[in-house]
Symmetry: C2
């Protein structure tokens, strides 16, 4: 039997030899580090016998496939440790994820403190170098093996008859698993359990809530420590942590998941972003509408949301309403209804409807996070209704607006993704392959002409059309879609939207669905992580802090504060019983962009002394001039803060 | 038998004589006009026999009781006509209402055009002078009489055993009815059927939808015509009609009842009002929060809404959510949760939280109207959390703010109502009689001290405390509550809200729930009816219309428009193929406050000619000065529009 290796060499072996034996024949080191192999590009246990001529490649934990396998095996080791320590726990599933693994358990009541105990037991199992043994079984045998594991039994029952069922045995621990796995537990050198979370069995909220333990594992301690270090930095700069420290938002269990409450400071940021976007969009010819946040199912049936998006929608209960109402997940059908209130001439187009729009989406419990993924959010939403000859220019205008907004926000590290439908998964989309091809070709043409660099992604479009996504990585390295621009071939027809063309005939317009700043909450999260509290003047929730040498100057301070507030500047007076220096230091630590100090000299001369974050101080400024300059920082958002 | 009359005279009659016979004995005219009588102050058919000494008063259709009775009888006549014309129709109920009557029918498919046919048949019945005959029956007899009327049977079955059941016969028409009625149909001189509406049987949306016909009736043609004239004026100035004509808002059956959509023009008005209120409230020390529009039932159980307000709330269905969520009817529990995020010192109080808050209330189908009573609305909501020693001043501040806002909006015809709980209906309120008495006494003291004139109303308080209501009459003469200020003794304790007092102890603060402009949609409705489209400059959705002598000046016009828009002025260019004069006339008819005309002279000199609604024209204005003056009208809302 001939075996070919990656370097092209070919060797003869007797049929039936295992991968491990071949590795051993080549080098003792290789046999020690190889945790798996590929036979004709198919990943396999290294203990598997090879029966005929094949190409074989050995895999170590430094290969991407090897690392994944190592993590998968570590998930088994964790589950094995949990079963030893908590025999009443029932197994769910335990897959590998982006940067580690998890395993779900029912009937396991533990706290964060238990993770160390589990880690210690895992270390015992690793020391024992227990082999992972694969066992192919029939469905009946599998059911017998899983006798006390109801979730495994459910999975086995659903397996197709023709599928090969395998079990992996690691000492006393047995797990339904396709594999492959590392040869024995001793190959795990560096792992860490990270956190506990709740997760519904199969992600379905009608099922039991299981306990999920997250962990990770690396080929060596150095790589693990580097990862943990990065993770710590990310955690410290996560907007949830900063949001609490900067008093920007809270979440509350009694109110519900994914429903953050913005404090006055957080609300100030959101409101200033809304004001910025609305002002800019109005300048660019958008007109604002205000449409309701609930609507009848009838409306969503026309739009297609009822068929393609219902699982993400909150429906009002029958008992509490005489109509079948749902909270809206998008504004499109509402703005389309407004468009249809009258006839439109070709001359009126493009019509650019914008709305600072509240939307509701039923995100799953596990996916919610801070301000990034929530159940109620505010989208800078808009629909451009235009003629075919205006499509390209309007698309470019939308891109230009996004570019301007991102630049003003100091957000430059984004990429473009051209999201297409998935013809193999037609149920997810409006079924009109011809229109999909046509509109994807149109979008591609526009993108190529615009010269922006983009990647293509199948299966990421909206259900009604292809889109361009603006993608950003968050502090955890996870890519999120921040803003989308979509071409819609389906909804204008479904809503019977028309315009009267030059020749008097009624035609169907094109629609561009687009955002400009995206979802305000998500953008806030990115800004919080980006600026780490050191917001530019125009965004800062507290733009000015007024500190006095003593409380005898409070009247002057409050008068200045009110004058500033009337001029649209967010000013506060520090009334704590602290020294001037302590007050200044605290304001600096909190990155207040402008610190106004007031003592006898200032009150006598009716002036103010001004400190900025670059450390400069300007004494004895005229009050009106001081306020005028601050107003300028609010108006021209790119000005350097200097007096 | 002695009968005493209202003028004090007493006459002898034989027992058993009817009212009609007595009237006839007094005067033929009286017998002709008297439609009923009171026997010892109890209203009765005039055909009823009198059996013992009594005080008798005759009633004509010019007496309030007589008019009501006339309308009730006309409802029977209408039902009789409907039964003649549409024998398959089934009777619901037909009561008298404020300015007329209605009758509900099942199985009656008619349009507005059928009302004339019904009126004609009613005229026939009136001509026939058919007597109303009262018949007292047993429950069994009543059920037999109602054999083909399922709704009447339902009512009869529910009658208490001891109750006297009466039927009124009007020729072939028979109706379960307490009466009394006019002697015969010929007494109806002036009636009109007004409109058709849908109404659920017994107002319950789980029941059938019936057809309701509204009508009215007056003692004579003159009074009827006066009423119809007033009604026409009200209808023409109703904000729903004006809202459509001025293109401010629409409602749409597919979206749902009580869910208006604001067009760009309507949204402009709402946004400008929000901006005005937020700016003013910020100046007065309010800080804005942004809290979610849905929350868990757990939260509303703490607040008491679940027990006292649930019927008005929209609940999210169990199938579509893993938590029991409801759309919020008020913001209080959300702002209280925010307050509780940290400890507060007595020094921080008062804290004035404001929110431009979206609320949802499940108004019944019949009660919804335009922008006045809707299912989703925006309240200028606020909660002042203060110490006991600050309560009076904060209440006065709230009143002062309301006065300022009403004055700026040119709304002066409002009254104050002191709304108290109803101790006889304890289920509606938080059960703490002592606290009710104390807080009502406190509020009364504050009101008396403030010197505002007010009326008291029992049973009109919030479920958690007494309130002061600002009341206005709408164009139909109906009084609505526009704004409320409430003192809350219950919720701070329920939410465990505290502050640390000077002496270090934790104390419970007082809360004032208050609005400033009320519900934005309702206030818009009032403004629409008040100004009838002739909005002041700062409110006008289109503040400036630019008209050109010909299309060769469009570039200049669009440049001016964009410059104005950048300066925050809502400007449009009239691009229709019309003459300058026609364009100016149309703008004047639409009450556009500023009309800018552009011809060759203006373009050459880079100026603009300006027309205002008072008819004055100013030629050749410098562009920058023109824009600066317009900006001034936006800033100082009380300026006269003059250049």
């Amino acid at each position: 039997m001939k075996i070919e290796f990656p370097d092209g060499t070919v060797k003869e072996f007797a049929p039936g030899i295992t991968g491990h034996e071949i590795a051993l024949s080549l080098s003792e080191h290789l046999a020690r580090v190889a945790v798996a192999m590929t036979i004709n590009n198919k990943l396999s246990d290294i203990s598997a016998p090879i029966l005929e001529d094949s190409a074989v490649k050995f895999i170590t934990t430094h290969d991407p496939e090897g690392l994944e396998l190592l993590r998968h095996s570590t998930a088994h080791i964790m589950a094995s440790a949990v079963c030893r320590l908590f025999p009443e726990a029932k197994l769910g599933i335990g897959p590998v994820i982006e940067d580690g693994f998890y395993y779900d358990f029912d009937n396991l009541k533990i706290t964060r403190d238990d993770l160390e105990t589990i880690e210690n037991e895992m270390r015992n199992i690793i020391k024992e170098k227990i082999p992972f043994e694969r066992k192919v079984v029939t469905k009946e045998e599998a059911l017998a093996l899983s006798g006390e594991e109801p979730y495994k039994m459910e999975l086995i029952r659903e397996l197709p008859e023709e599928e090969e069922i395998s079990y992996y045995m690691t000492g006393d621990y047995k797990d339904l698993c396709r594999g492959p796995h590392i040869p024995h537990t001793g190959h795990v050198k560096a792992f860490k359990l990270l956190r506990i979370a709740g997760a519904y069995w199969r992600g379905d909220s009608n099922n039991s809530m299981l306990t999920r333990i997250y962990g990770t594992c690396f080929p060596d301690k150095k790589a693990l420590n580097e990862y943990l270090e990065l993770r710590k930095i990310a955690e410290e700069n996560d907007h949830v942590k900063l949001g609490k420290e900067l008093d920007l938002f809270i979440t509350d269990k009694t109110i519900g998941q994914g429903l953050p409450l913005l404090t006055p400071r957080g609300a100030a940021i959101k409101n200033v972003l809304i004001q910025f976007v609305e002002e800019e969009e109005r300048k660019r010819g958008y007109v604002y509408t205000i449409t309701p946040f609930i609507g009848k199912s009838e409306l969503y049936k026309i739009s297609g949301h009822w068929d393609h998006y219902k699982e993400h929608m909150f429906i009002v209960s029958e008992e509490s309403s005489d109509e079948e109402l749902a909270l809206r997940p998008m504004t499109c059908p509402f703005q389309f209804t407004l468009y249809n209130r009258k006839l439109h001439s070709y001359k009126e187009l493009p019509i650019r409807y914008a709305e600072t729009s509240t939307l509701f989406r039923n995100e799953s419990s596990g996916s919610m996070h801070g301000l990034i993924r929530i159940r109620q959010f505010t989208l800078a939403e808009g629909h451009i209704i235009c003629r075919p000859d205006q499509l390209e220019e309007e698309f470019d205008n939308a891109l230009d607006l996004i570019g301007f907004i991102m630049k003003t926000l100091d957000m430059t590290e984004y990429t473009y993704r051209f999201s297409k439908w998935d013809p193999k998964n037609k149920a997810k989309y409006i079924d009109n392959p011809e229109a999909w091809e046509k509109s994807e070709a149109t979008l591609k043409k526009i993108l190529d002409k615009s010269g922006i660099p983009y990647v293509e992604a199948e299966g990421e479009s909206a259900f009604y059309g292809p889109k361009l996504d603006i993608q950003m990585k968050n502090i955890w390295g996870k890519e999120d879609t921040i803003i989308t621009v979509q071409i819609d071939f389906a909804l204008p027809g479904r809503f019977n939207m028309t315009y009267q063309d030059k020749d008097g005939t009624e035609k169907t317009p094109f629609i561009i669905h687009r955002s400009s700043i995206g979802c305000y909450e998500r953008t806030m999260a990115i800004l919080i992580e980006h600026f780490r509290g050191k917001f530019p003047f125009w965004i800062a929730p507290e733009q000015m802090r007024i500190v006095t040498v003593s409380d005898q100057f409070y009247d002057f301070a409050f008068a200045l504060r009110d004058k500033c507030r009337n001029a649209g500047i967010r000013a506060e007076v520090d009334v704590r019983d602290e020294t001037l220096n302590k007050k200044i230091r605290d304001a600096q630590v909190q990155y207040i962009p402008v610190i106004a100090t007031i003592g006898k000299k200032e009150v006598d001369a009716q002036t103010v002394s001004v400190r900025t974050l670059d450390g400069t101080v300007k004494y004895g400024m005229n009050l009106d001039e001081f306020i005028r300059i601050c107003q300028g920082f609010n108006k021209d958002r790119n000005l350097t803060i200097t007096f």
